[in-house]
């Protein structure tokens, strides 16, 4: 082991299964002693939302957006076989049986492993999220911050 390597994942999707894949890779890369960053943009930002309703100063459109999108990873749908919410229920049951970590657990573990969670500021504004609605220990950045990490990175993924 010489200089530490880095893994940079862009989580664009707001699907439970895709967030799960992203966070499994993030945790695996942290176990590889990589410097790991997960950049959340667009629908992927929902993974960073706190699960309850958070009071924030918002306009009408922002409030509507907030209502239409899942509050936190646990409320996300599946990219396939969602079946109006039945799919996630079924897969969570199967996951329990197989002792698979849930996405909220994977996110917590990623934070424990010092994975850097980043919210894309531009899409945070676009979708009308306020800082108090998102997890506390995250950073806010833009495309240059991602590229700064990724240009010297070893693993780069867009999910």
């Amino acid at each position: 082991m010489t200089e530490s390597k880095s893994t940079n994942i862009i989580l664009f999707s707001g699907d439970y299964d895709k967030a799960m894949a992203a966070y499994i890779i993030a945790n695996g890369a942290a176990a590889y002693d990589h410097k790991v960053t997960v950049f959340h943009t667009f629908w992927g930002l929902n993974a960073l939302r706190k699960d309850g309703k958070v009071e924030a100063q918002k306009g009408m459109l922002e409030k509507m957006f907030g209502k239409m999108m899942p509050r936190g990873a646990d409320k996300m749908g599946l990219s396939n076989m969602n079946m109006a919410g039945l799919g996630p229920k079924m897969i969570k049951k199967v996951m329990k049986k197989h002792n698979t970590s849930t996405v909220p657990e994977l996110i917590e573990m990623a934070q424990m492993q010092d994975v850097n969670l980043v919210a894309c500021q531009m899409t945070v504004d676009l979708l009308g999220f306020k800082k108090e609605e998102l997890l506390d220990d995250i950073t806010y950045a833009g495309v240059a911050a991602y590229l700064g990490e990724a240009e010297d990175g070893n693993v780069s993924l867009f999910i």
Binding site: N27, G28, A31, Y32, H98, S101, L106, M109
Partner: protein
């Protein structure tokens, strides 16, 4: 084999075995041997690749009734 530490990650699914293995080996000294007991059938490929990348040696392994045991020496 002189095992310094043993972890039981039976029943846990990917990525937990590798995350726990990494956590355990971090606390050991070079040359110490970590025993990992798992039921994850993907662990063999995972631990082999991980140990190689991290400079640890996978000394031995065995499989018994779907339980896999690995011995990894910290490098």
């Amino acid at each position: 084999m002189n095992v310094t530490k043993s972890i039981d990650v039976k029943g846990l699914a990917c990525p937990m075995p590798i995350v726990q293995t990494k956590k355990a080996i971090k606390e050991l000294q070079t040359q110490d041997v970590l025993e990992v007991v798992t039921t994850d059938a993907g662990a063999k490929a995972d631990l082999t690749a991980w140990a190689k990348s991290q400079g640890h040696a996978l000394l031995d392994e065995k499989e018994e009734n779907d339980v896999f045991t690995f011995w990894i020496q910290k490098g």
